[in-house]
């Protein structure tokens, strides 16, 4: 681990610059993606990546250059390019960062079980093949796939203020999905992939319960195929954690990103219905809503000790008893806005600059078991597993769809329904939060696919949530 440290220190020490501040962020990554589709092993896809980003500040103006040439000459060339660019853009620059503090910490961080070997490629294929083979023979089951993604990343951040921050992370993404088809309609049931990923080793696969998933998921896909459409109307809505994560992500996470509020993302990812003046004043949700930025849950995807600008990370309440108190804004956004934020300045790799991102954004558990949540609903619907997401550029009007629906009548779970969709408006939706599940309903989930930024970046984000109930939501089904 961190084998390149001594050599990188030496190269960094050899860099020469006229800038008042400069930093180097070096990233090494290896990837492995395996899958078995309909009992046929797909060719393994492997990856190795290495590069560095050099950032400079010249007279308060910052610029960067990213290069895959990490030799002494390559780093110096990139540093010179960044410096020249900072001087070129100086008279057009939006920000004067002359007085912004820079990082100076020294620390190491590693994912849980990082030191434990992961099973061999052959063992992984055997596991995937077993689960694929456990899908029962049924002509309606037209497609199924078991997959396992693995990424190992080491990042070292150095700057001329003395910071040295190292992090070694391993991310695991198990997945299983089945599609059933009856000649007209098709229905898919999915575990993992876009909504389950964690840091760690093989323990992640064990928590995911990939063993035995095949037959169970196939049975659920067939149930959906036979199920009636979700009825249209207003109902109480019980969202399970694998839909809650999407709900949190789109209608709390993105609107609270400070760079959106400051306008940086207006041309692409969008803006926010939240204003800077709302912090400390806006009742975002009901009194039951407590939302945290929490980088200290070891297995969650975006746990770390420092963000990619070198700011130390700690747990912070963003929404307390429904009141909006703090944005998702890193050191730069805090400098620009004057608001307290969190350590969420993140980059997807060495070739992109850090910007405000979600990291681990969680809802704190309440005090009701799942049985109590269901028991408290007179006419409602349970939805699980996101399959469709759409929200406006201010992150307000949304429509989300799930794979699995189950009606609730007079406090009891009833029949399965297909194509469950619901729509609402963020600024009022969270005020309808009427019950929050306890820790027994809580799950630590996350996605590898959060896109944002110009140039575009995809990062991993974590979301832990209990099951939650929302009262009187507009629910509807599909055409089929």
């Amino acid at each position: 681990m961190f084998d390149i440290t001594a050599s990188l220190r030496q190269r960094f020490a050899g860099l020469r610059s006229g800038a008042e501040f400069f930093s180097l962020r070096h990233v090494q990554q290896s990837d492995q993606h395996l899958s078995v589709r309909k009992n046929v092993a797909e060719p393994p896809s492997l990856g190795r990546d290495e590069g560095a980003m050099l950032t400079v500040r010249v007279n308060g103006v910052e610029a960067y250059a990213a290069t895959a040439d990490v030799s002494q000459a390559g780093l110096q060339r990139a540093l010179d390019q960044a410096e020249a660019l900072a001087r070129q853009i100086a008279r057009h620059a939006l920000l004067d960062l002359s007085t912004q503090a820079v990082a100076s910490g020294r620390a190491d961080y590693a994912s849980p079980n990082h030191d434990k070997a992961f099973p061999s490629l052959r063992d992984c294929y055997d596991l995937l093949a077993r689960e694929s083979a456990s899908v029962p023979s049924d002509s309606r089951l037209v497609n199924w796939q078991a997959s396992l993604g693995l990424s190992t990343i080491e990042q070292i951040y150095l700057n001329n203020a003395g910071a040295e921050l190292r992090q070694a992370q391993r991310f695991v993404f198990p997945g299983f999905n089945v599609t059933a088809y009856d000649g007209q309609d098709s229905q898919s049931r999915t575990l993992g992939r876009e909504n389950f990923g964690q840091q760690g080793g093989f323990d992640v696969v064990e928590r995911f319960a990939l063993n035995g998933a095949g037959a169970r998921v196939a049975e659920q896909a067939l149930q959906l195929l036979l199920a009636p459409n979700t009825p249209s109307g207003v109902r109480d809505l019980l969202l399970m954690p694998d839909q809650m994560m999407l709900q949190i992500h789109e209608s709390i996470g993105h609107p609270l990103e400070m760079d959106r509020i400051l306008g940086d993302e207006r041309n692409y990812a969008g803006t926010s219905f939240v204003n800077a003046s709302d912090f400390g004043h806006l009742q975002y949700g009901s009194k039951l809503l407590n939302v945290t930025f929490d980088p200290a849950i070891p297995e969650e995807l975006a746990s770390y000790a420092h963000d990619d600008d070198g700011t130390p990370a700690s747990k912070q309440l963003l929404i307390r008893d429904g009141l909006l108190v703090r944005p998702l804004g890193g050191a730069l956004s805090q400098f620009r806005s004057g608001l307290d934020g969190v350590a969420n300045s993140r980059a997807c790799s060495w070739n992109r600059a850090p910007i405000d991102r979600m990291a681990n954004l969680n809802i704190e558990p309440g005090n009701q078991t799942l049985e109590q949540l269901i028991g408290g609903i007179e006419q409602g619907i349970l939805m699980r597993t996101n399959r469709s997401w759409s929200i406006d550029d201010a992150r307000n009007k949304f429509q989300f769809g799930c794979e699995w629906g189950q009606l609730i009548e007079n406090g009891e779970l009833k029949g399965v329904v297909k194509n469950p969709n619901y729509r609402g408006i963020s600024s009022s939706f969270w005020r309808n939060l009427s019950a929050v599940g306890d820790a027994s309903t809580n799950q630590v989930l996350g996605t590898p696919n959060c896109g944002k930024g110009e140039p575009n970046q995809v990062v991993r984000v974590g979301h832990a949530s209990p099951a939650c109930v929302f009262s009187q939501i507009d629910v509807f089904g599909g055409d089929a």
Binding site: R48, A63, A66, T67, Q88, G401, N421, G451
Partner: protein, 443 residues
């Protein structure tokens, strides 16, 4: 740059050929860029940087097995030669660990392709100055991306392709003080200051319409005109598995009913994957030459995008589609409606410049939802009346491009991808606007 990157790739291919053993076969694909990115907010530079990156994907085939490894290249000949050999060795050790692949299919032809479009790139200092001068007091936000993109392919059967294009793409929005905005884009290979000035003037003129008090619309059904950029969102959504042979076979395609013959679009709708003349390379990452493909003709399904793997699995012919089987140069045939007559033909309804964040409400039914974004106007009797605040639609493509499609415009817009996920993309679309008799707004 062109000679250097090409020579670098040629040297790697040569090293690889010299070090194969026994019956081993390989494919090696290359992608690289040298890009400058300048982000704007409030017409000032918010963030600027340069990215130099290149990578190669090595696929090793032996004894009916295949595995691939993507490696970043440093640009240094000796370092990259070493990385290539390490990758080769890792793949040699991997192949015995995996079963034989029944869907392994290689193209054994030794095709050659060479396309270099190396017009000089604009001077970024001058571009920056013109953007700054022309924006003036406007609230401009967006990104300027420019530089060469290189793509290469070689195989042990002797195929060799090289594609390089220098290009720039300035993707921006102008915001009114009331929060409404106009989206605009100026992209190409040669920066023409007068053409850019015209584009900026056009956007500025549109911005003035947005200053009127907005009209609030209730959910319901409306006549609507979808400008090419809005159509690009709908077609882009369909392209998410719609034409893919694997998605169609596995019943995960939004167009499975079209390809199954159970549904049809309007006879006005014809779409092709128009590789020739586009910015996309004439070869796939899998090593197949790409030719133009008719995907939909007069509302009926025709060809599917078929990768080598799908060809083997579903007994089809590989036609140059990439692994994910998405169109990269989708062209939709024009109609008869003159752009100048759009407002008159619309009469009373919505003029929608852009759509945003589409997804499926019901995928097998090709029913999708999404939102208006940027300049959307309420039109009465052919006259623009007021901007319309963000509204959500929810409709099937078989309605929008089927039973309720009235006309397509005679003029089309070439839309170059602004995507920079991973690296700058070369995909494009060439689309008309569409006049539809019914668009269902839900929220």
């Amino acid at each position: 740059m062109a000679a250097t990157a090409l020579q670098h790739f040629q040297a790697l291919v040569s090293d690889l050929r010299d070090n194969l053993r026994g019956q081993e076969q390989f494919t090696l694909s290359y992608s690289g860029e040298q890009s400058q990115f300048i982000r704007f907010n409030h017409a000032k530079v918010r963030q600027a940087g340069e990215v130099q990156q290149a990578g190669a994907s090595l696929k090793l085939i032996d004894d009916g097995r295949q595995a691939s490894l993507h490696m970043t290249l440093s640009g240094d000949g000796e370092v990259d030669r070493q990385r290539l050999f390490e990758a080769l060795e890792q793949l040699r050790q991997t192949l015995p660990l995996i079963p034989q692949d029944p869907y392994l299919q290689l193209n054994d032809s030794s095709w050659q392709s060479h396309n270099v479009q190396d017009q000089p790139l604009p001077d970024s200092a001058q571009v920056l100055q013109q953007i700054s001068d022309s924006a003036g007091e406007l609230d401009l936000v967006g990104i300027y991306a420019a530089g060469p993109i290189s793509l290469g392919f070689a195989s042990s059967h002797g195929a060799f392709g090289w594609h390089q294009a220098n290009s720039f793409n300035f993707d921006f929005s102008l915001f009114h003080a009331n929060g409404e905005a106009v989206k605009a884009n100026y992209a190409g290979q040669t920066w023409d200051p007068s053409a850019f000035a015209r584009r900026m003037a056009q956007a500025r003129a549109q911005l003035e319409h947005l200053g009127r008090p907005p009209k609030a619309l209730a959910p319901g059904e409306y006549r609507a005109y979808l400008a090419p950029a809005a159509m690009d969102e709908i077609i882009g959504m369909l392209n998410w598995g719609g034409f893919s042979a694997q998605s169609i076979a596995s019943k995960n395609s939004p167009l499975q009913r079209l390809y199954g013959g159970d549904s049809a679009m309007s006879p006005l709708v014809s779409m092709t994957e128009q590789v020739s003349g586009s910015l996309s390379p004439a070869f796939s990452e899998e090593g197949y030459p790409r030719s133009d493909l008719r995907l939909i003709e007069q509302g009926q399904a025709r060809e599917q995008l078929t990768s080598a793997r799908s060809a083997a699995e579903f007994q089809r012919v590989a036609n140059g589609a990439e692994r994910y089987e998405s169109a990269t140069a989708l062209s939709m045939a024009p109609g008869e409606l003159a752009e100048a007559d759009v407002l008159k033909a619309l009469g009373t309804g919505l003029y929608i410049s852009n759509l945003w964040y589409l997804n499926y409400s019901d995928l097998p039914a090709a029913r999708m939802t999404g939102l208006t974004r940027f300049a959307t106007f309420w039109v009465e009797d052919g006259q623009i009346q007021a901007p319309v605040s963000t509204m959500r639609f929810d409709d099937s493509v078989y309605s929008l491009l089927g039973s309720h499609l009235e006309a397509l415009t005679r003029e089309r817009e070439l839309i170059l991808s602004t995507s920079t996920y991973g690296q700058r993309q070369t995909s494009s679309s060439h689309l008309p606007g569409a006049l539809v008799a019914r668009l269902t707004l839900t929220l």
